[in-house]
């Protein structure tokens, strides 16, 4: 018997529909509801469940009351097990509690409907590597843990339950909502979640399929390490691909922070922009970055520590970009974006980078601001 945990954030993206940016905070939620906003995430979760029950007939759904999942399950024709209680308006703590309880019950997969905020809440509470998947329901989503649409989420969940989907590590980006409302986009790389992804049903027979992302990351690491020179500080941006470089050197790396390596050793961990600038006074440096999240940002989302000053000092020619080809495929080979906050530095960064996509493999990729 397959068991799913379902968590719906009924207020995800609720502000957006009525012209309010973001939807965190009790006040924003009240205003949105007053303005007549309808919780779309509930409907989207329903769609996913319908798709899922077609793909996997024997599914037990564990969920929270009313808008947090019970309604969606009923709409989809399922009879869920409702665990625990909630107040009138749901909060981030409800989400986190749901995650803890469902993972404690040992469900096979946690499905959550929401946006970046919901993903952040799931991320903060979920046990490491516990399988989960996002049903998109918010406004623009920067995290990479969501399926492309509710149907796809249901299908993927079904495949995962049948053992036909593998898990991969995807980034959660935390949008600063206040800044967003004030017209600034500011994100933090918050962490990662392990989500199912769709392997090909049957590989085409004329050419080998690409290596798994993990192996690609290892190949990229091998290439980067081969090119490393002594005496030079390597500023390693956040991300799973950059982490692979540290792993290959048997060095620790903070997943979401910026670390610095030199001569194969860690010399600074989770640094701020100031610390980087101080360091640049004393030694030559190169930057190694990888695009973060689902929107294809190279600088400006999740790695603001590597700020415009740092970039200017290091110089464009000393920036090494790494990415698995799978990630670039997911971006549809659209140009990468930069938003450092400094128009001049952005202009400096636009153009092409030879992105390292494997051992002795590059892609001449466009970057725009």
């Amino acid at each position: 018997m397959n068991r799913i945990g379902l968590i719906v954030n009924p207020l995800a993206g609720i502000g957006g529909r009525v012209g309010l940016k973001g939807s965190d905070g009790i006040e924003i939620q009240r205003r949105a509801l007053e303005l007549g906003a309808v919780p779309e995430s509930i409907q989207r979760a329903t769609l996913s469940l319908i798709q899922l029950s077609q793909a996997a007939s024997q599914v037990e759904v564990f969920t929270f009351p009313r808008e947090m999942g019970e309604m969606s399950a009923h709409e989809a024709g399922l009879t869920p097990m409702v665990i625990d209680e909630t107040g009138d308006l749901t909060t981030a703590e409800d989400t986190r509690r749901a995650v803890r309880e469902m993972s404690g019950l040992g469900v096979d997969l946690i499905l959550f409907a929401g946006g970046d905020g919901t993903a952040r809440d799931v991320c903060s509470a979920i046990p490491a590597q516990f399988p989960c998947l996002g049903i998109p329901a918010g406004v623009k989503i920067h995290s990479a843990v969501y399926a492309t649409n509710p149907n796809h989420a249901g299908e993927l969940a079904g495949m995962y339950l049948h053992g036909r989907a593998h898990l991969r590590e995807a980034e959660v980006l935390d949008l600063d909502e206040d800044a967003y409302r004030d017209g600034r986009v500011s994100t933090r790389f918050y962490g990662t979640l392990h989500v199912p992804f769709r392997p090909l049903l049957l590989q085409n027979q004329k050419a080998p399929s690409p290596a798994s992302e993990a192996r690609q990351a290892e190949a990229i690491a091998a290439d980067v390490i081969e090119g490393m020179q002594s005496g030079i500080a390597y500023i390693l941006g956040p991300g799973t691909t950059t982490r692979a470089i540290a792993q290959a050197l048997n060095v620790e790396k903070t997943l979401v922070g910026v670390d610095v390596l030199r001569d194969g050793k860690l010399i600074a961990m989770d640094v701020t922009q100031k610390q980087l600038l101080d360091m640049l006074e004393t030694m030559p440096a190169r930057i190694i970055v990888t695009p973060i999240g689902g929107q294809g940002f190279l600088f400006g989302r999740g790695n603001q520590q590597i700020g415009p000053e740092v970039i200017r000092k290091v110089g464009r020619e000393n920036i090494i970009v790494v990415s698995t080809s799978a990630k670039l495929q997911a971006l549809r080979l659209q140009p990468l974006l930069v938003d450092t906050g400094d128009a001049e530095v952005d202009a400096l960064l636009t153009g092409y980078f030879n992105i390292i996509t494997g051992y002795k493999e590059r892609m001449a990729y466009k970057v725009i601001s």
Binding site: R164, Q203, K206, A326, L328, Q329, Y352, A364
Partner: protein, 530 residues
């Protein structure tokens, strides 16, 4: 018992017209694996016995063989009578869909065209099959002349100065080109400096792979917004480390890159060479040539453009065309003519050596030659024009199907194939491209999605060569249309397809699990026991 009164003679009972879609069912023999057909003591063919005198004179042939080299237990091969072996393979032969059986336009980029039977039959003459490659040249003038003449033809078709027929197939030909490029740069002392090869996302993966095997770093150009290899990216990628550009035109999207001369000039200016992958040449015979576009080397797949059969995955044949500057690096030997007879030139000091044993896939070289001889210049031109016409006719019709699109270059004509996308249909219905392919097998055909990586989402690549009639194309469209409709109204039948094929949904999990995978029957039995 009374007899029924016989009916008045009149018109025959009419057979109703056939339904719009073929009520196809593939042969399905539920045939066991050959080892399960084994029966102790059966034999399929007896080898000739040596004469009694000879055996006596020979004595014990194992008397100086160490124990470690003497086979102790007989190999556990199946034991079957001749008819039973034949029948088993005949049954399996029926469980395939090749060009001779289906409207094989679905295997895009493979150029599935008719392989004339007359060529196959002639190539089975013992005067080809029973030739040993080391026979005195005077005894093989016929086949040498064929090789020489085919080289001349391919020279004319490509505009190149020399052509080698030695490579075993397309990827081998690409590797040959890369090896020659490597030798060229080494001869000029730039072998170490030029360690990068540039190719594109839509190139056949063998371009990058062969270059990598040869020791190069690969830089891939993604497509620009119109689907062409990104020229700006090329500018960023070219440097004094560039050994070569490996490119195809048109690429698998079917769009001709009109800026190809600029690409070539840019690479040449940096001191690099240009290699043209002409796997997609079927639409361009007599229209445009590799040499005229400035390329230094190019290659053809004889089993694609030039009709030799695909053989379930080979044997095939490849041909590399080169300029006279590159000719010294050609694999050894080359075929020459001295005015009276044909011979091999093995005195080629700068040659890259041998790509494979002997001189080439003689049987396929013969068939390609025959095919060109049957068509001539006008015929080849017609091949291309009709291939292109068929493709654009098909394109129009596919675009009328709900959920299908042809990304890039909207409104532009394509050359000989198109990479379509079912993205809209997938988004609407949850049905994926490969599932549509499996469902197509229920109507007696199939299609191929794309090379990896899937740049175009939910891809389908169709290549209707000149071998297909208008009715064939219409039938194929009818099948696609029907399945697309099913996606919107009854997707379940697609998700569980195929239903009318030889077998049903395969359980794939074991293929990636080292504990469970079984590449041979003995491995399978061993792992089952555990």
């Amino acid at each position: 018992m009374t007899h029924a009164t016989p009916k008045k003679p009149g018109a025959p009972k009419p057979v109703a017209p056939k339904p719009a879609l073929r009520r196809f069912h593939q042969a399905s023999w539920d045939e066991p694996v050959i080892f399960e057909l084994s029966s102790a003591g059966q034999r399929g063919v007896l080898p000739p016995e040596p004469e009694a005198d000879l055996v006596e004179a020979a004595g014990d042939v194992f008397d100086n063989l160490p124990a470690s080299l003497k086979r102790k237990t007989a190999p556990a091969l199946p034991e079957m009578s001749q008819l039973h072996v034949l029948r088993h393979y005949m049954r399996m032969s029926q469980e395939n869909l090749g060009v001779d059986l289906n409207i094989d336009i679905g295997q895009g980029t493979c150029t599935m065209k008719y392989s004339p039977k007359v060529n196959d039959q002639l190539a089975r003459s013992h005067k080809l099959t029973e030739l040993h490659p080391l026979q005195p040249l005077s005894t093989v003038q016929g086949i040498l002349e064929v090789m020489y003449r085919l080289e001349e033809m391919l020279k004319e078709i490509s505009g190149m100065d020399r052509v080698t027929l030695q490579p075993g197939a397309g990827s081998a030909a690409i590797y040959t080109n890369v090896a020659m490029i490597r030798a060229y740069h080494e001869s000029r002392g730039e072998g170490k400096k030029r360690d990068e090869v540039i190719t594109s996302s839509f190139s056949h993966p063998s371009n990058g792979a062969a270059a990598k095997v040869a020791g190069y770093k690969i830089i891939t150009l993604p497509p620009d917004a119109d689907g062409y290899p990104d020229f700006e990216a090329l500018k960023a990628a070219v440097s004094e480390r560039t050994a070569a550009l490996l490119i195809t035109n048109p690429e698998d999207t079917g769009i001709f890159n009109a800026r190809i001369l600029e690409f070539v000039d840019l690479v040449h200016a940096a001191g690099g060479l240009c290699s043209y992958d002409q796997a997609n040449a079927n639409g361009l015979l007599g229209i445009t040539r590799a040499r005229d576009a400035g390329f230094d080397v190019c290659h053809f797949n004889l089993h694609k453009t030039f009709s030799t059969p695909h053989g379930s995955g080979g044997p095939a044949a490849g041909a590399c065309g080169v300029t006279k500057e590159m000719a010294p690096f050609l694999p050894t030997p080359t075929v020459e003519f001295d005015g009276t007879s044909y011979y091999f030139d093995t005195n080629r000091p700068q040659s890259i050596g041998k790509i494979r044993p002997w001189y080439g896939m003689a049987g396929n070289i013969f068939k390609a030659y025959a095919w060109i001889m049957s068509l001539g210049a006008d015929g080849l031109r017609e091949v291309s024009e009709i291939a292109v016409l068929n493709n654009n006719y098909l394109l129009n019709k596919v675009l009328e199907i709900r959920g299908a699109s042809a990304p890039y270059a909207k409104g532009k004509r394509r050359i000989e194939q198109v990479r379509y996308s079912w993205e809209q249909l997938t988004s609407d219905t949850g049905v994926h491209s490969e599932e549509i392919g499996f469902r197509a097998a229920d109507f007696g055909t199939h299609y191929w999605t794309s090379h990896h990586p899937f740049v175009v989402p939910e891809p389908m690549t169709l290549e209707p060569t000149e071998s297909y009639s208008r009715e064939d194309l219409d039938e194929y469209i009818a099948i696609l249309k029907h399945i697309a409709n099913e996606a919107y109204t009854n997707p379940e039948i697609i998700h569980t397809a195929p239903h009318n094929s030889t077998i049903h949904k395969i359980d794939q999990e074991s293929f990636d699990d080292p504990e469970a995978w079984a590449v041979t029957w003995r491995a399978y039995k061993r792992k089952l026991k555990k």
